[in-house]
Every structure is written in C-alpha cells, then in structure tokens.
C-alpha cells in the first residue's frame, strides 16, 4: 500500500503530511482553474458560433459580455429544483454527480506543464478510458431514472453511442502507446520530442483522425449529438433535470470536452513539449510557463474545432452514426495499430 501512496505523492524525502497538503493544493488549483475554463468555454462557444452565424453573441453583461457565464451560473444556482414524481429518486439525484465527477476526475492525470500533474500514474491513458466509461452510467441512469420516454430514449442512444465510439477511441490511441512505449502521459509528451515538430499527429495521422471523430461522439457533441437531438427528444437524457442538477450535466459535458481536447493536445499535438534550444536557454520558470501557454493554445484550438464543426455540420442519422463507428473508424484504428507495429519492428530508425 505504501508504494501506491508513494507513487501518488511525489517520491522524495519530504514530510508525508506536507506532500498531502501539496496534493490538496494542486487539486484545488486544477478544479478551480478547470471550472473557470469550463465557464469561459461556454462564452467562447457562444461568441464563436455567433460570429459564424453573423450575430454578435453575448454582449450585455459586463464589458463585451464577459460576465455572462457568471450570470448564467448564478441563475442556474437559484432556479427551482423540480423532481418528477415518476422518477427513481436516489438514482435521479446520483446520476448528474456520477457524470460530473467522472469528467472532473479525468483532469487529475493530465500534465498541464512539466512536473504539474496531480497523479503521475503509469496507467494514465487507461485511467482516462476507465473514467469515460463511468460517464456513460451517469447518462444512461439519468435517462432511466427520470421516468420519461424522451429521457429514456436519449439515455439508451447515448449509452450505445459512447460504448461504440469508446472502442474506436481506445484503439486509435494504441498507436500513440506503441510509439511512446508508455501509458504515462508525461512520458508520452517527452517521447514526442524526437519527432518532426515535436508532435505525434504527423506519423499517427490515421490515429489522430479516428481520435478526433471519436472524441466528438464521446462527448455527445454535434454532428453526433443524437442523445439530445432537440427535434426528436426535447433535450434527451437531461430533459427532466432543472436548476443545479442540470448545471452539473452542463458542466460535465464541457469538462468532458476540455478533457478530450487535453488528451488530443497531450497525445497527438505535443502537449507542453518545447524544442531543446528553448528549454536550455531560458530559465526553468520561463520555459515552464511557456509550455503551459503552448498546451493551452493547443487545447483551445481543439475546442475551437468543436465549435466550428457545430456551426457547420448537420446531425447524422442514428444508423449512419453506428455505421461510421463500426464500419469505418474501427477498421481504420485496427489498421493503424498493425501499420504502426510493423513500422516499429522493421524500420527501427523511423519510429
């Protein structure tokens, strides 16, 4: 047991309690900063989509509408909490929490800059998959426990969608695991330094394509937002939720997007990695800050892609969604694994 605790707490001879204090501080920073980013991701989304549709987006609350997310949060917090009489109460209360917690827990293994991870575990990527499979429970249980047909259908759709695309997403990252030789996200970032531009996206372009499509489906975003297709299912699995329970689903969805963008940034786009001549010439503090800035730029570029696609593409039909997942993405991901493995064995210098 102590060895696990040592793995979680940074190895070293500092006092045990001090380490726990540092970890709690890290958790507080990541949750605080993460939720702030999530709040402003909604503002960013409304602005981006507004301008794409030749509108202005939010601009009334605060300068340039910058206080809009805070106003929305306050409003949701004070709204009446309505519980349907047909609902299964304990599970109805629990499912938004499961959904939100699973998204938030995923943040704990993501390296934001060199040396800043809450839990630098050896199975970082597998932990992320485990948490994303937990999120499916939040969705399907909320759909079932609401006692409404729209919620139920939305929940079932979402569960089958998330499970189908999880396989493709997991297999698309296997290429990255083969190239990096590790599941630890920090080591994946380090391994990318040896490649052109310091990113895996060029040699792993098939894997990156599969990952991007699967990430859209995993987070139930357009063009794969069938679980909450407004014209068919009102709002899908969270139709019956109101007030702060709805806000938990909303926060969970955006945190999920943030996590997916972070995985894309860390596993395919180089994360906080910087070229050697920068790290050797700048003071440690400066290049770490620069690394964090690079990481955030990549994350936001990926978030922008989410919004861009939302403003551009129509929704797929359900059978088309399943066909893409099973007949296109899964074979592509498998082919990518075989290809990466063969190249790794036969052309040792190349990978």
């Amino acid at each position: 047991m102590t060895s696990i605790l040592e793995n979680i707490v940074a190895p070293g001879s500092i006092d045990f309690m001090l380490n726990i204090g540092i970890i709690l501080l890290k958790i507080a920073i990541v949750i605080g900063m993460g939720l702030l980013h999530v709040a402003y991701a909604t503002y960013f989304e409304r602005k981006v989509i507004g301008h794409m549709q030749v509108r202005l987006g939010p601009r009334e609350v605060g300068p340039l509408g910058l206080l809009q997310p805070i106003a929305d949060g306050v409003k949701l917090f004070f709204k009446e909490d309505i519980i349907p009489s047909e609902s299964d109460k304990p599970i109805f209360y629990l499912s938004p929490v499961i959904f939100f917690i699973s998204a938030l827990t995923s943040l704990s293994v993501i390296p934001f800059f060199d040396g800043f991870v809450i839990a630098d575990i050896n199975i970082g990527l597998l932990f992320l998959f485990a948490m994303s499979s937990l999120a499916a429970y939040g969705i399907v249980m909320s759909g079932w426990s609401s006692g409404s047909k729209y919620s139920f259908l939305g929940g079932l759709r979402s569960a089958s969608q998330v499970i189908s695309y999880e396989i493709a997403m997991g297999l698309s990252l296997v290429g990255v695991m083969i190239m990096a030789g590790s599941l630890n996200l920090t080591e994946i970032v380090r391994a990318q330094q040896a490649y052109p531009l310091g990113i895996f996206a060029i040699p792993q372009f098939i894997g990156f394509f599969v990952f991007v499509v699967a990430a859209f489906a995993e987070t139930n975003r357009l063009p794969f937002d069938l679980p909450e297709a407004e014209s068919e299912l009102v709002a899908g699995y969270f139709t019956e939720y109101s007030g702060f329970r709805f806000a938990l689903f909303f926060l969970g969805e955006y945190t999920g997007m943030l996590v997916m963008s972070s995985i894309a940034s860390v596993c395919f786009l180089g994360g906080w990695g910087l070229p050697g001549f920068i790290t050797s010439n700048l003071p440690v503090f400066a290049w770490k800050a620069l690394g964090l800035a690079f990481f955030l730029v990549k994350v936001y570029a990926f978030m922008f892609l989410y919004y861009w696609v939302r403003a551009t593409l129509p929704r797929y039909r359900y059978d088309q969604l399943m066909a893409i997942g099973w007949k296109l993405l899964l074979p592509l991901a498998l082919a990518n694994i075989v290809l990466t493995g063969l190249v790794k064995i036969w052309m040792k210098g190349l990978l």
Binding site: S3, D88, S133, Y137, S160
Partner: protein, 170 residues
Amino acid sequence: MLPKLFFGYYAVVILFLSMLVVTRKNPVHSVMWMLLLFFHIAGLYLFLNAEFIAAIQVIVYAGAILVLFLFVVLLLNLKEELKIDRFIGSWPAAFVIASATFVLVSIALKSMVLGPPGKYTVDFIKQETHTKALGQLLYTEFLFPFEIASLILLVAVIGAIVLAKRKLRS
C-alpha cells in the same frame, strides 16, 4: 497495520456490496451496487500493485460487461417485481453445502504455504511498470495459453454474428 486496514476495508465492503447486489428488489439498483463492487475490486488490485489489471477491471467489467447487463435489465422493462417466494424449495441443502465449503476452506487456509519468491518482486514490478512486465510475460512464456484464450473469444464473436445473421435472413 495500514495495509491490513485497507485490506479489511475492501474485504468487508466487497462482501457487503455483493449481498446488496443479490438482495435488491429493483434490478437497476442491483446493477448500480455491482458498479460500486467492481470499483472496490479494482481498488483491491491496485492495493496489490497490479495497476494494469485494476484499470482493465474498470474498463472491461464496469465499462462494457455491466453496461450490457444494464441494457438487458432496462429493455426487459421489469415494472413489477415477480411475486414468487422462492424458485426452489431446497435452500436448506444449499445452505448446508455452502457452510460446509466455508468450514473446509477455513481449515485448508491454515495449512497454506506461500510459494517460493520468484523473479517478479514488488521492486522489480515497480521499476519495470506492471503493464510492461505483464505484457512481456504474456507474449513470451504464456503465449500459447494466451492464444488459446483469444481463439475461444474469437469463436464466441463469430458465433454471435452467425446467430444474429440467421435470424435476419429468415
């Protein structure tokens, strides 16, 4: 002291949760308790420094198999509980057999001898990382059993597809 405390917690909670799973009236609630049970089992693996197995436990059992259970339970639409007391009346015999097995196992546990310490010590695993050590062992020493297990799974997959397709044609 600390390891014993952790193990005690997991053992007690796993037992308690398994009881909850089989005694709930609502099958969906049973599935939710089982989810918690799987997480505790994963915790037990983590406690043994088997981090890869812990992650796979959550991904495969909680993420895939249990979701399929949930689908079956939801699609069966069990609005009303079956009001049958017991399916079979021979529970005293089952109770006697279960108790006897329990006694037998507790006697057998006393004479347990630990195996000789092998190459794979805790320090070795920590240095190699569990995933790597397990992978190397599976693909070298235990390649044949591993391939047999894969073949059996493949047969099951193909069998399921064949059954589904036959229904579609008729």
